[in-house]
């Protein structure tokens, strides 16, 4: 066949048939995927998230349907972009799973390491905490309506980062080293189940500080008498592990089309 002319503007010249499975070609495609995900290297997964926690989070979110064969199907964001007539900068949804360490109170503390995907100017459009409340076996009889007040304390923007001390109650040394803000919600519990708490401001505050650690304190007024309890970080119960969903987009602002 006639030799393939190189073209001034075609930087990439595909290998010919015999080299297709050439490892360089494969590496080029891998590099392309990592570039588009703004990653330098592929993540190093040493201790994977329990599958039960992952499946629960995905199922709760409709972010993906887990098929019988375990494969995941993902609906894309596009439908929503068309919905609000705005040209969306790249939107991503980040699910972080709760962790605990020696800085968090075992009774009421947990923290999240929220990813900003290596992007400093990520705009958080929405963030929700998902908490599972379990009706304790020894609680009042089934079907009784239980109204409790759940208080989520988080550190405000400008507060010293780190979880030393808590909002004047639990969490290590007691007394806070920074200002804590509060999200409060009345929850009506009939049975065990998931509940969400809006934490957009909290996550924006963490990103605003250039940090990614989101410390929370969870207090529930009335839970004991109602015989219910929020599940925090419990290795024995991975499928009810709290998780944080952050919907963010790259704040570039250039490509916005507004209705006039």
């Amino acid at each position: 066949s006639s030799p393939q002319e190189s073209c001034a503007s075609c930087g990439f010249r595909a290998p010919d048939q015999s080299e297709r499975v050439n490892i360089d070609f494969l590496e080029a495609v891998k590099r392309h995927i990592l570039n588009r995900l703004q990653m330098r290297d592929r993540p190093n997964i040493t201790h994977p998230i329990p599958k039960a926690a992952m499946v629960t989070a995905l199922r709760r979110l409709h972010a993906g349907k887990v098929r019988e064969d375990g494969r995941v199907e993902i609906p894309s964001f596009d439908g929503q972009a068309a919905f609000n007539n705005e040209v969306q900068a790249e939107t991503s949804e980040i699910i972080s799973f709760a962790e605990s360490d020696e800085h968090t109170s075992t009774k009421s503390g947990l923290y999240f390491l929220v990813s900003n995907e290596g992007n400093q100017n990520l705009y958080v459009s929405q963030a929700n905490l998902w908490l599972y409340f379990r009706v304790l076996p020894a609680g009042p009889e089934k079907g009784l309506r239980r109204k409790v007040t759940v208080k989520i304390h988080y550190q405000e923007a400008g507060a010293a980062s780190g979880a030393e001390g808590g909002p004047g109650g639990g969490g290590g040394g007691g007394g806070g080293t920074g200002r804590w803000a509060l999200v409060e919600k009345r929850v009506d519990l009939k049975r065990s189940g998931w509940h969400t708490f809006p934490l957009s401001e909290a996550v924006r505050a963490v990103f605003g500080k250039g940090s990614r650690r989101q410390d929370l304190e969870v207090h529930c007024e009335g839970c004991e008498t109602a015989g219910v309890a929020p599940v925090l970080v419990d290795p024995g119960d991975p499928s009810h592990r709290p998780f944080l969903v952050v919907r963010a987009r790259q704040a570039d602002g250039k490509h916005r089309i507004r209705k006039r």
Partner: protein, 116 residues
């Protein structure tokens, strides 16, 4: 656009190429999809291709092709085979800190090829 399925006669076409993430050991951090269509464009763009409808990669190329067909080529630049239509890929993956990230990555899959 044309598909490189042996019938394109060496003309600019789309070559399909699928990478299964399990085969390259990436299925531990990419939850979905199961693989990636790393399609690419290959083939020649001779002058007579300029008249083939749908082969121009952009309106600008269609206009230049009209000049070329009439022998009024603006300079001696060759035409080359590039993607003319790309689509978005929705991905679900773990990052370094075990967050699950769900993202639509635009212009990720080559759907069609044409001559620029």
């Amino acid at each position: 656009g044309l598909e490189c399925d042996g019938t394109s006669g060496g003309l600019c076409c789309r070559q399909q190429f699928y990478i299964d993430f399990r085969l390259i050991g990436w299925n531990d951090w990419i939850i979905a999809p199961a693989g990636y269509y790393g399609n690419y464009c290959e083939g020649s763009c001779p002058a007579y291709m300029a008249g083939v409808p749908g082969s121009a990669s952009s309106f600008h190329t269609a206009v230049v092709n009209q000049y070329r067909m009439r022998g009024m080529s603006p300079g001696s630049v060759n035409s080359c085979c590039i993607p003319t239509k790309l689509s978005t890929m929705s991905m679900l993956y773990f990052d370094d800190e075990y967050n699950i990230v769900k993202r639509d990555v635009p212009n990720m899959i080559v759907e069609e090829c044409g001559c620029a």
